[in-house]
């Protein structure tokens, strides 16, 4: 209905203006960045360039605030009103693909050969979405803190071990200089918990769900490794290294005002920290036995299942994957450009740039969240379990309950198509 009236409008307009004989086909596109001027300008630049570069397609943008974006897509899908081009948060993609909101993205594979692994949204062996950027987390501290506490600077090749990390926290606490040793960002509820904290679990050798089958969480979340993670996680709070309930204001500027020795935070906050302290270090995640791990995948573009013109949508997405746009987004909103060649164009991320380490962390330690339609539920179960354990709940019992809930959900969904 809406598309028809748009089409009608476009046709009328072209007739009135008597421009080209055949109007370009309109492709609608939804984006999650409403409210951010910079982001709006960047995406509009890509769209304007694309519309000007050829005469077959005309992309029209509709922006939503991030907080209601997913709800809007769900509502539109139920009403059969999806746009042609969709913007999707990486871990949500399998859910939307499985539910029939999205179709496989047909673009030239060679164009994305050198993209960061976390930017490629692959489900059931097919590419559904591709990101222009990724995000990464690091353990933020200052060189002067490490020197003072007598700690070595860990590297990607030699990250801190669990023992070294424990030693670092103990020394930071013993120094008495900090309000708390570690700022985990527990104030950020929601997706932050599985995004930021489940990589610790994965480094311990556990996971939110058993990735070999995606049919159960038994043994993955409540197995030996999972329980070891839970006990360690709880000890961070019972030993007084971190706050289970954190004031959002502390999260936003606690580290920058010297309240914490270490902060577990993303690349988006890095520039602010660098401004506060020149000797800021962005350290790789500690290795709890299975290598250092951080979460991967951010917002990505894909084609909706109902699109009548998937080739047009794919053409736009392919057009957007140019290094100059990747670099523009990175310069504009501080995200990690998806390719090394685009990173070269960005002062912060080029080799030798202050944030270049994030590119390596994303490339070498990034692990996508469980690639399953059930992730949207599993993420919420994990969040509650992590929060409860932090508040002092019994580790084994909490993880057992989480496993039961995840398994019941998988069963209720007939295995989510795995």
């Amino acid at each position: 209905m809406k598309r028809r009236s748009l089409l009608l409008g476009a046709t009328l307009a072209s007739m009135l203006l008597s421009t080209s004989a055949f109007a370009a086909t309109t492709l609608s596109m939804w984006y999650h960045g409403a409210g951010s001027d910079v982001e709006g300008k960047l995406i509009n630049q890509v769209i304007d360039d694309f519309n000007a570069s050829q005469s077959d397609w005309k992309v029209e943008l509709q922006s939503f605030p991030q907080a209601v974006y997913n709800d809007s897509v769900t509502a539109a899908a139920l009403a059969g009103n999806l746009p042609d081009i969709l913007d999707v948060d990486g871990p949500n993609m399998p859910n939307w693909a499985w539910a029939g909101y999205m179709q496989p993205l047909k673009i030239d594979e060679s164009k994305i050969a050198n993209f960061l692994p976390g930017t490629k949204g692959v489900w059931n062996g097919q590419l559904y979405s591709i990101g222009l950027w990724d995000a990464a987390i690091s353990l933020v501290t200052r060189k002067s803190y490490l020197d003072e506490l007598g700690l070595r600077v860990p590297t990607l090749d030699q990250p801190w071990t669990a023992a070294e990390f424990a030693d670092a926290l103990a020394k930071a606490k013993a120094s008495g200089k900090f309000k708390y040793a570690l700022d985990l960002g527990t104030a950020w509820t929601g997706e932050w918990y599985p995004y930021a904290f489940s990589p610790f679990l994965q480094s311990f050798g556990g996971d939110i769900v058993d990735r070999s089958t995606y049919k159960t969480a038994e043994g993955a979340l409540n197995g030996e490794a999972g329980i070891a993670w839970g006990k360690w996680w709880q000890s961070l709070f019972t030993d007084g290294y971190a706050q289970a309930t954190q004031d959002p204001a502390d999260r936003d500027n606690g580290f920058n005002t010297g309240a914490y020795a270490f902060s577990w935070n993303g690349n988006w906050a890095a520039l602010g920290t660098l401004k506060a302290f020149e000797d800021t270090l962005f350290l790789p995640a500690p290795d709890f036995g299975n290598g250092p791990k951080i979460g991967a995948a951010s917002w990505q573009f894909g084609v909706s299942a109902k699109s009548a013109h998937p080739e047009g949508a794919a053409a736009f997405i392919e057009f957007a994957l140019q290094d100059k746009y990747l670099a523009a987004f990175s310069n504009g909103i501080g995200l990690i450009p998806a390719t090394p060649s685009a990173a070269d164009l960005v002062d912060n991320y080029k080799p030798g740039g202050p944030l270049h380490v994030f590119f390596d962390y994303s490339n070498k330690t990034g692990l996508v969240r469980p690639v399953t339609p059930g992730y949207v539920v599993q993420a919420k179960v994990f969040e509650k379990a992590a929060a409860d354990i932090a508040q002092g709940a019994d580790v084994e019992e909490t993880l057992d309950a989480a496993v039961d809930e995840i398994n019941a959900d998988i069963e209720k969904n007939s295995g989510y198509g795995h």
Binding site: A244, V376, K380, A387, D388, N413
Partner: protein, 343 residues
């Protein structure tokens, strides 16, 4: 004349509710390619399932109860009965809700859905505290402002103000008031006690979180019920008061024998309305605590939304809504019966 109203109420209240009843017997999901299936009462069993597990203390080879230094008996882990124990299939997947010790036996009450049980209990506590507290405070305020003083309307407006402000805004503001670092409440208590009062994370502790939300909720809606009481007070004929004063009645006697009987119907209304509103506790939880810490502020409606929307489990959310409906309906009927006119 009532046609449009009946149509709209039917479309937006009755039809969705009938849908909820229907969906609660299926496995309907919010997002899914799978067909919906009828599952009978399994959603209700999943939510309300309870069981009793008597735990015998562990005994050593001689049959003596194993005790620690403090003399407390040692019990086997509940987990060993509820997880994949083929001898006790009836307990499989259940969790300990609470336990009571009788002699040496520990009676453990197992629930299939401990979180929902906690939500039920929290909601009942909320209703039981809020209904008398809010109703009583509102009556007190109404009596205070039911006077012919200059500028009394200013007071009426002030007391009514929180009702006009959106509950979401009020909740956000109270989050700052309850803040553990530099919140208004902590600062106030500190300055009143010359710094002796330690900072409390009001919303961050299981012991204080529900209480904090109760106080804030009472404060927010008390003005609304005050206005209802006020309208009731103003329907009482002044001649009754005149007669009472001629008879030489004391202030308490006037209240007891003139005001209170005159407020009978208002009281029933206020009680029923507060009870129903209190059962619907949601926004404060969603903005301030999200059910935490440790489920201390889980409520029925919050769970319904959390499951139906957040976890995409429409059937689970519908089931909770139906249970809530039955609860509120039966409690309202009981209230009606208890407050009926006795002839």
């Amino acid at each position: 004349m009532a046609g449009p109203a009946i149509f709209l109420i039917g479309l937006f209240v009755v039809v969705p509710f009938l849908f909820a009843i229907g969906l609660s017997f299926t496995d309907q999901r919010l997002v899914t390619p799978n067909p919906t299936q009828f599952v009978g009462a399994s959603n209700y069993n999943q939510l309300l399932g309870l069981n009793l597990l008597p735990l015998e203390p562990e005994r050593d080879a001689a049959g003596q109860i194993v005790r620690d230094e403090a003399g407390a008996a040692k019990y086997p882990a509940v987990r060993s009965f509820t997880r994949k124990n083929p001898d006790y299939p009836q307990y499989d997947g259940m969790r300990e809700w609470f336990s009571v010790g009788v002699g040496d036996t520990q009676w453990v009450v197992l629930a299939r859905d401990v979180v929902f049980m906690t939500a039920l209990v929290n909601t009942f506590i909320f209703v039981l505290v809020v209904a008398p507290l809010q109703g009583g405070l509102a009556l007190g305020l109404a009596l205070l402002i039911n006077q012919k003083l200059r500028g009394i309307n200013v007071f009426r407006a002030i007391y009514f103000m929180p009702v006009v402000v959106s509950i979401v805004v009020v909740s956000l503001l109270w989050r700052f008031i309850y803040d553990g670092n530099s919140g208004l409440l902590n600062n106030l208590l500190k300055s009143l006690t010359f710094g002796a009062f330690p900072s409390v994370e009001w919303l961050g502790q299981p012991e204080t979180a529900l209480g904090a939300i109760i106080v804030m909720s009472v404060w927010q809606a008390v003005g609304f019920h005050m206005v209802i009481w006020l309208s009731g007070l103003q329907t009482i004929s002044p001649t009754l008061y005149e007669a009472a004063s001629i008879e030489g009645a004391s202030k308490w006697q006037v209240f007891r024998y003139v005001t209170w009987p005159g407020l009978r119907n208002t009281a029933v209304l206020v009680l029923v309305v507060i009870t129903m509103q209190a059962f619907g506790l949601f926004s404060q939880i969603d903005v301030m605590t999200k059910g935490g810490p440790l489920d201390s502020t889980q409520t029925i409606v919050f769970q319904a939304v959390q499951r139906g929307y957040g976890k995409q489990d429409i059937s689970g959310g519908s089931t909770i809504s139906v249970i809530l409906f039955v609860l509120v309906l039966s409690i309202s009927l009981i209230q009606r019966w208890l407050t009926r006119e006795k002839r």
